[in-house]
């Protein structure tokens, strides 16, 4: 168990994974309660467009994924807020559209290879020192923003209109939340992969909801489930040479089934 930490890449993978599991569980709590669970999956697919562009232009995939995801998140929120289009319809358009676009870009770049596979499903080998520095700095900043706006995000998730009439800048904070989600997703693609990060953001929260606690404890339980899943998933990934993202999501699914069994009366 301990010997895996002798490798630099495992230390980096664990540190990055722990940071991502914390911020994705907090962001996921608000996203799930706003009935916006598919946002994470959609932005994950959009981030693949960023990765594809980066591969084509031979530049940093993480930075490009952040830029593309944030722009898409703003477009999604703009269409939802100002054009009153159903959220799930907007997400369906962006989800399939971005996947199509990224396949075209990758085809043009002629890069259907193992490096793309790592971005789709995550790889413990993929986190570089630069990635870890970026994930750490962004993680601390994102965590600080969530702490500052925690109550306001909670109020908006509970009742958007009541929050607005209490003076909460709802539209501004909705844009902020989708921006944070977009950044978290783009940061996570190294560890969890674009096709699986949605699950890490959403399933711990859905599992935590089964315990029927108040909001604060629901977030704490989601955080614990997310952390356990990432740590166990990365360990299993190392020992059995499995893709890290898929292994993490398999563990988190197991945690969800356990939460259903523990709380089966609910």
């Amino acid at each position: 168990m301990i010997e895996m930490f002798e490798y630099d890449f495992m230390q980096r993978a664990f540190l990055a994974g722990i940071i991502i599991s914390i911020i994705s569980a907090i962001a996921g709590s608000f996203v799930v309660l706003k009935r916006y669970s598919l946002l994470a999956d959609t932005l994950a697919h959009v981030s693949l467009v960023g990765v594809s562009i980066a591969i084509l232009l031979d530049t940093s995939p993480v930075y490009m994924a952040i830029i593309v995801s944030v722009i898409a998140a703003w477009m999604i929120e703009y269409l939802r807020s100002y054009h009153k289009i159903y959220s799930d319809s907007i997400l369906a358009i962006f989800l399939s559209g971005s996947l199509a676009l990224s396949v075209i870009i990758i085809s043009v770049a002629n890069e259907f290879n193992s490096s793309l596979f790592a971005y789709l499903f995550g790889s413990i080998l993929a986190v570089s020192s630069e990635d870890l520095i970026l994930i750490s700095i962004a993680g601390v900043l994102l965590l600080a923003i969530f702490v500052i706006f925690f109550r306001s995000f909670f109020f908006i998730a509970f009742d958007e209109e009541a929050a607005q009439t209490s003076g909460v800048p709802v539209k501004w904070l909705n844009f902020l939340l989708v921006t944070l989600v977009a950044i978290i997703i783009a940061l996570s693609i190294r560890i969890v992969g674009t096709l699986l990060i949605g699950a890490l953001m959403v399933i711990p929260v859905i599992s935590a909801l089964r315990f029927k606690k108040g909001f604060f404890y629901t977030v704490i339980i989601a955080l614990a489930i997310s952390l356990i899943s990432v740590i166990s998933g990365l360990s299993l990934s190392y020992h059995y040479s499995l893709p890290s993202g898929a292994t993490i999501v398999a563990v988190v699914l197991g945690m969800f089934i356990a939460s259903m069994l523990i709380n089966r009366r609910g």
């Binding site: 800048p169 935590a208 108040g214």
Partner: protein, 250 residues
Amino acid sequence: MSSVISVQDLNLELGNETILKDISFEIKEGDYCAVIGPNGGGKTTLMRAVLGLQSYSSGAVKLFGKPLKSFKDWNKIGYVPQRASNMDSEFPATVREVVCMGRSSGYSLFWKKDEEDVKAVNSAMELMEVQDLQDRRIGELSGGQRQRAMIARALVSNPEVLVLDEPNTGVDMVVQQKFYALLRELNKKRNITIILITHDIGVVADDIKSIFRVNQTLLASDTPHEVLSCDDMSELYGIHAHLVDGHSHD
């Protein structure tokens, strides 16, 4: 008494449909008003437009003398929307967490729970008699308890105006009577201006000082005695109305 809400020539059209037409009225500090009218008559839309939740086509709305667009003192207004009584029962929020939301923003984005916030939350819960329920999830409560928790949330910022949209949906008669007694107390003892969107015409007639009859346009605004005639009610609801003389609380 100063004006808390002033509406001038308000018009609201959605597509080719007129929702509200030429509505003007004023609500003064300490008033207890009821907005009545048939379903789809625009009662809720009118109050949503007044609170800035619904954009309108033309006209002017002022809150506490300030134009709606530049109004910032939202802590002066407590709003309990219609769907509060039939909210998502699975939402993970305790009563205390819900009441705390009312303190989450007034002037600043940054929320810090200080001693004053804790006092205000405890006092609002005590007033609405939900202190014993503070650790229960809001979804587990009965309709009446949930309604009291939602009003505690609206009261926690010490508002000067309380707007309630059909607060008694799904609540039995006994709870309704207690609820109206509480509103009467808030109005008389705390001088909170109350605006009630309701169908309970008979119940509110005993307490309220003025009634707004709304069906796309403002048909009348006057004291209950003046507005609640059989002919007026028949005109408002489009059916033959027969009013039974009720009791007085005084």
